[in-house]
């Protein structure tokens, strides 16, 4: 291998592993009450010391059942809820400590796609204004024409007809609404997009289209996804690495193949065995045993 080729190779290797987000020991406790009137405070440890890294251009899936803390994890790292403790390193800064203009600037780089295509779009705003809102907040354009062009280009990228810009969300189907949500998330070309169960409210035939779109956008824009889902079929299809969470902790982390082909943790094994799959009869007895053991 020539020297130049070797350098090129190392360069690729490096960029593939480049960490763009680092979460360290993230915690979110909710106070639920006190022991007695003035006693010790009691907490629910919704997220209890979660750490992980996200690399450029990859999809990191977080799986687990409801209440395992996967949603709270991403909401804490996006500061939708203020986490109790931990660090979120984004561009060499602790995102959790940022304030004011710095926070606003950092937010440009990390966006979110929501689960519910109905409650995530303001029913009184037109599609144009919904998609354009992040741009409005950041004042990234100088003229109305620039804004219009940005919005229409983004609509085209997610496969929305430009004529729909003046319509309201209720005129669209679930899948199209999810496209609007995606357009809004990518309009500022962020490096990281958090997807919170983006397809679980959709019909199967539509779900496939949205997943394909997410993959397509990733290939085009080199976005990194944090992808939350309870559907392991979808996760296996889209994820590069997988984080399995249980009761606020990460119980197993690995590449997709490691997790799906050779799971180490008992909970991961149970999770994988419980997927109903066509053409594979499930062994129901083990679940009954697991339930009795609880």
């Amino acid at each position: 291998m020539s020297e130049a080729g070797k350098n090129q190779f190392e360069e690729n290797e490096k960029s593939e592993r480049e960490t763009i987000l680092q979460v360290k020991n993230l915690k979110k406790y909710y106070m639920v009450g006190r022991k007695g009137l003035f006693g010790e405070k009691e907490y629910v440890r919704s997220v209890d010391g979660v750490s992980f890294e996200l690399h450029r251009g990859e999809t990191l899936a977080i799986v687990g059942e409801s209440g395992c803390g996967k949603s709270t994890t991403v909401k804490s790292l996006l500061r939708v809820v203020e986490p109790t403790d931990g660090e979120v390193i984004l561009n060499r800064q602790d995102f959790l400590k940022l304030k004011g203009a710095d926070l606003k600037k950092a937010r440009r780089n990390i966006k979110m796609i929501f689960q519910d295509p109905y409650s995530s779009l303001n029913p009184r705003m037109t599609v144009r204004d919904i998609i354009g809102e992040p741009a409005d907040i950041e004042h990234v354009y100088k003229t109305e024409e620039e804004r219009e062009k940005l919005i229409l280009d983004t609509m085209e990228m997610v496969g929305l007809n430009k004529d729909f810009a003046d319509r309201y969300p209720h005129e669209f189907s679930g899948g199209q609404r999810q496209r609007i949500g995606i357009a809004r998330a990518i309009i500022l070309r962020p490096e990281i997009v958090v997807c919170d169960e983006p397809v679980s409210a959709l019909d199967v035939s539509v779900q496939a289209k949205i997943i394909n779109l997410l993959k397509e956008l990733q290939a085009k824009m080199n976005i990194s996804y944090i992808f939350i889902s309870h559907d392991l079929g979808v996760v296996k299809h889209i994820a590069d690495r997988v984080l399995v969470m249980y009761q606020g902790h990460v119980v197993e982390e690995g590449t997709r193949d490691e997790i799906f082909e050779n799971p180490k943790n008992d909970y991961t094994k149970l999770l994988l065995a419980s997927i109903p799959e066509i053409g594979k009869k499930m062994d129901f007895d083990q679940f009954e045993r697991a339930f009795q053991a609880e």
């Binding site: 996006l78 939708v80 926070l103 606003k104 937010r107 440009r108 990390i110 966006k111 979110m112 929501f114 689960q115 519910d116 409650s119 995530s120 779009l121 303001n122 029913p123 009184r124 705003m125 919904i130 809102e133 992040p134 907040i137 950041e138 309201y168 209720h170 005129e171 949500g181 809004r184």
Partner: protein
């Protein structure tokens, strides 16, 4: 598949409610006759013609005349100006205060919510009429003071309604989305919460008007409303009570105007709520 936007859709549903449309027509007629009262009648509402006092209804005076010989129809129409303007302006004031208080309570929560909720409680537990009387005593009678007093009295209802709505809206993901994009509180309140509260505001405003009109009538009846000789339905009834046995029509006509207006606003408000409130929609 193309559906129109929310308000034109609501309007279409609204036209199907015959009673509400009828109420709207009645109110439009009242508003027009209040505005064009000087053109519609040849009489001056306040000029005393003692020769013509206490006439029964006739072709010259369709509603008769009062103890000072003033045409009752004319005074009813001029009274309409007072009643409608008091109802509408006071409720607009109430809506502004109520929206601001309700949004602050619902959106910011915690201490702000505690304080405002307490204020709402306090204002809803006052006997409204007594409070209005006290305020009018303090401020002195006059139409401006009526607007302020009645507006100040009824913001609590609106605030409670808006607070509840905002508490629900706050959980919507588009509010979270705006915050993730770095949107300020002001942006959330103006761009996201306000448009979604407008239907509630329209409804609470429409339903608040009749009670404001009634309170105004009561105050005027007690001599605390508009200063005489300005005509107002309440003060007319007050003047008529001496003659209730002999000249029943005198109190009857302003009474009919009050009832008609109140029922019309209530029906209209119910109709609007049916089409605007998402919970009431099928």
């Amino acid at each position: 598949m193309r559906k129109k936007n929310y308000y034109s859709e609501s309007l279409k549903l609204f036209w199907k409610n015959k009673l509400a449309v009828l109420s709207l027509l009645i109110l439009i007629v009242l508003v027009i006759s209040a505005i064009f009262a000087p053109v519609l009648t040849p009489y001056d509402p306040n000029k005393q013609v003692l020769a013509d006092k206490l006439l029964f209804p006739s072709s010259k005076h369709p509603f008769g005349t009062d103890e000072f010989g003033r045409d009752i129809l004319t005074r009813c129409l001029y009274g309409c100006r007072v009643s409608l303007s008091v109802g509408i302006v006071s409720q607009l004031i109430a809506s502004v205060i109520g929206y601001f208080m309700g949004v602050c309570a619902g959106y910011f929560g915690k201490k702000t919510d505690d304080v405002i909720s307490f204020l709402i409680q306090v204002f809803s537990s006052f006997p409204a009429l007594l409070f209005a009387m006290a305020l009018m005593y303090a401020l002195g009678s006059g139409i401006m003071n009526l607007y302020l007093t009645l507006g100040f009295l009824s913001w609590a209802n609106t605030a409670r309604l808006i607070r509840g709505t905002v508490l629900q809206l706050k959980e919507q993901e588009y509010i979270q989305a705006c915050r993730i994009d770095g949107g300020s509180n002001l942006r959330v309140i103006l761009k996201h919460l306000f448009p979604n509260c407008i239907p509630m505001l329209i409804v609470s405003c429409t339903l608040g008007i009749p009670s404001a009109i009634l309170t105004e009538a009561s105050l005027s009846y007690l001599g605390l409303g508009v200063p005489s000789p300005t005509a107002s339905w309440g003060s007319m009834i007050s003047g008529a009570q001496t003659f209730i046995r002999t000249n029943t029509y005198y109190s009857l006509f302003p009474g009919i105007f009050i009832i008609l207006t109140v029922i019309a606003f209530n029906t209209l408000g119910d109709g609007l709520r049916d089409v605007l409130d998402p919970k009431m929609r099928k």
